[in-house]
Symmetry: C2
Subunit: 288 residues, 2 copies
């Protein structure tokens, strides 16, 4: 460990990131791009994915377990990369854990509010995210004048996972979900789920040229950088971060998709079992 003059030792700790599965890697990718000097620890809850169709109580219980697990690994801040968990669990986590915690809703809302010209913003996401109204509330907090139109799109995640991203089924599904949002005349659409950027092509096609698609990943990475800078918790930019990955189901599927997401940069992936206290059990390590 280096020891630079006046430097905060806390700065050497890693950034913790979690998602219900593999989708949060899009957020990790942007964090690595913005802050290549930082270590990261990512947890994908692949044994209990998806979160979007489950109750706020259950999602919050899982989020607590994961945060305990990451905090025990001594992280300096937490990024909730899952939209559903950000929407329903962020307040509970902030109350319970004494580290900076950032979700993806607030950054996505900020970006949407700054992009819209017409003052009409669409938001799509899982059933859990849309039911929580978290995006609509966040956008209204920034600018109460903005009109927000929301729509849950439960089939988008399974379509993305099946790899059906530009066939007729994807097109008809996108039309069924988005036609109403389009007719409301939005000029900005928030992709409120980390899987949705995979369907960007078909979503853009259905929404038409005049609509800007917003995903939270990049803006979330900027927010992380800003917070760490404000607290003097950034590592020196001369460093190169290491990245560790944990999953709750066997790692094979995560490794396959993850390497595609991160362009082959995935490091070791370990399987863990989370109990009620978020403790690690039988860490069946698997390297790639």
């Amino acid at each position: 460990m280096h020891c630079l003059q006046g430097e905060n030792q806390l700065a050497w700790k890693a950034i913790g990131i979690f998602d219900s599965g593999v989708g949060g890697l899009t957020v990790l990718k942007e964090i690595i791009k913005t802050l290549p000097q930082e270590d990261t620890i990512y947890l994908g809850d692949t044994a209990r994915v998806p979160y979007g169709s489950k109750s706020p109580e259950t999602v919050t219980r899982y989020s607590r377990q994961i945060t305990s697990f990451l905090v025990q690994r001594d992280i300096k801040m937490l990024v909730v990369a899952c939209n559903t968990a950000s929407a329903v669990s962020l307040a509970a986590l902030k109350k319970e854990f004494p580290i900076p915690i950032v979700g993806v809703i607030e950054p996505g809302a900020r970006r949407a509010a700054s992009v819209t010209r017409s003052g009409k913003v669409g938001v799509i996401g899982t059933a859990g995210t849309i039911k929580s109204s978290a995006y609509a509330k966040a956008i209204k907090r920034i600018n109460p004048e903005i009109e927000v139109v929301t729509r849950a799109c439960p089939l988008f995640v399974p379509l993305a996972e099946e790899g059906w991203v530009d066939n007729e089924v994807a097109r008809l599904t996108a039309q069924a979900y988005l036609q109403g949002v389009k007719e409301e005349g939005v000029d900005t659409l928030v992709l409120g789920c980390t899987h949705y950027p995979i369907l960007k092509g078909i979503i853009a096609e259905v929404m038409g040229g005049g609509v800007t698609l917003v995903d939270s990943a990049e803006e979330t990475a900027f927010t992380v950088a800003e917070i760490l800078r404000g607290k003097a918790l950034l590592r020196p930019s001369s460093e190169k971060g290491n990245h560790h990955f944990f999953v709750t189901d066997v790692p094979a599927g995560f490794i396959r998709v993850g390497n595609r997401f991160l362009g082959g940069r995935l490091g070791d992936v370990y399987q863990v079992s989370l109990d009620e206290e978020g403790k690690e059990e039988e860490p069946a390590g698997e390297e790639i």
Copy 2:
């Protein structure tokens, strides 16, 4: 409790049934129809659904936890109503728990083998079920001459849950999955997932009139009756069974769909948390 002459006291215990979620209620419904005198305890693992996309290791861990939970409630036999759990975990459960255990694969395979005339049987199911080859092996054990064509249909469960069972998206999805199976010339198609009967209409339309659709529920209920009769564990047919329900996520969604499945016959539904030992934690009861 009654005490009839020469009667096995064990007979008064309940039948345990589990599924990853609500789909197994189709199996429960047939059991109630065949054995109205029997008590049942059903567990739907709604906090961790689905199983079909998860690893055999994880599905087996969950199945063990649930079986422990039900065995602690003193059941006389267990029905694994989930096709994926039947396909990947049945052998492990039979080894570990000293009660009769029945899955849905074996009965479905038996029905298909008795129905086919052409000797060509199709099987559709989740990724986990199809990858396990459990149906193909079971059918071949009954009749090695039968040719089995299999296809995983990952989008069928989310389509059924979205209620898109006879629109153009469902039709195109069914065509994409089933065209190849149809072209193989099967005359029998096993619906190897408890959700698929909901899509029966569109599946029948795509497969055409000459193909018999088989689901395991009815045959599984006959198997349960046969085993209990063989072991003198049937309750007197003059009795009327009680039915109890446990879920791992909040009960609201299960109650809504379950009442539709069972025609308003759903009893009390309790939420439980399963730890590694399958013990009950904080049983937040909710009556309906």
